[in-house]
Symmetry: C2
Subunit: 198 residues, 2 copies
């Protein structure tokens, strides 16, 4: 005996989400059934609406309802700076700091031979196009200090060096408020390596 067919199908669907196992999927499906029909309709509509309306900005590949997106069309932004990130979530994180006033370029992923993702699956060609067409002075790579991130940075630096453009990568080191004693070795090594004169 299994769950009744439509319920089993719903559980299967939820199980396809990243980080959702069989038990969580069951819990989510039961939660769904406990909602009122109106709430369920709203949920289904929200999914369809998001899929229909949200697209990649054709310039920076940020997820947006508008194309070009609000950042690309914002006249107050410094068009000489492009910050390269892996994902739209990184754009949101950087925007939250309120410190960055340039443009972005979302790669839509990182190079990962293990997952069969090479530069051609990312928006690298379009980044080159933007550098060629616009008067860009600096490319800031705000890319995670992971194996995939480092591989992507290496690839981009080889690719962009001949262009003769200033390329920087955000600093890695001790997080603010943390304790040297408890920092992991790799972070501490990075912090030493990235030391600056005061």
């Amino acid at each position: 005996m299994q769950f009744t067919r439509p319920l089993a199908k719903l559980i299967e669907q939820f199980q396809k989400f990243p980080g959702v196992g069989p038990k969580s999927a069951q819990r989510m499906a039961f939660h769904m059934l406990s909602l009122s029909p109106e709430e369920v309709n709203i949920f289904a509509d929200t999914i369809l609406e998001a899929k229909e309306k949200v697209r990649h900005c054709s310039q920076c590949f940020n997820l947006s309802e508008l194309d070009p997106c609000e950042i690309c069309t914002n006249a107050k932004r410094d068009r000489k700076l492009i910050c390269v990130v892996a994902d739209t979530r990184d754009v949101i994180a950087l925007e939250r700091t309120g410190e960055y006033k340039g443009l972005y370029h979302v790669l839509t992923g990182l190079i990962s031979p293990l997952e069969g993702r090479g530069p051609e699956q990312l928006s690298v060609k379009e980044l080159l196009g933007r550098i060629g067409e616009e008067d860009v002075h600096e490319i800031i790579l705000a890319i995670n200090p992971t194996i995939e991130g480092d591989a992507t940075v290496l690839y981009l630096s080889h690719l962009l060096k001949p262009v003769g453009i200033t390329m920087t990568r955000i600093a890695f080191g001790l997080p603010v408020g943390s304790d040297l004693e408890y920092a992991d070795d790799v972070t501490l090594a990075r912090a030493l390596e990235g030391r600056r004169e005061i």
Copy 2:
């Protein structure tokens, strides 16, 4: 700056699920957008179909597409036995054992004063109705050994004692394959209390 509106709405919806925090909700929403339009349509349809087709069996309150459900209409089932459980998931767990051949009654929850859930929100009245109408010989309470479960068992035993029906509760003790040394005190106390002559 926030996520574009349709995406933010989708994240909000996912965050309403039990056990889903802001980060998981983001991950799920991004996963949703990474699917093909067909897959997204299938997902939305599955939700609407489950909500439309799955209902409580009017006899035992199990979730089912049919009313009465497959178990209630199964002629091979022993109609003299009713196993009372909190939830449809408990029915599935008991069915998996292949040991139980009676009927079920799903309470659709447990008594919980903290969450404002009293017996009137559960299918207790309908259970009494079934006992009154049918020739039931034994009620088996397969209810979790938690505070809410124990409160519900206490309530049901007071309610059903005057009816003069045999009432049992499933046994609690050491799980099969476990080690006495590592059992927690409460489980061990329950195992002692529930000892049987050999």
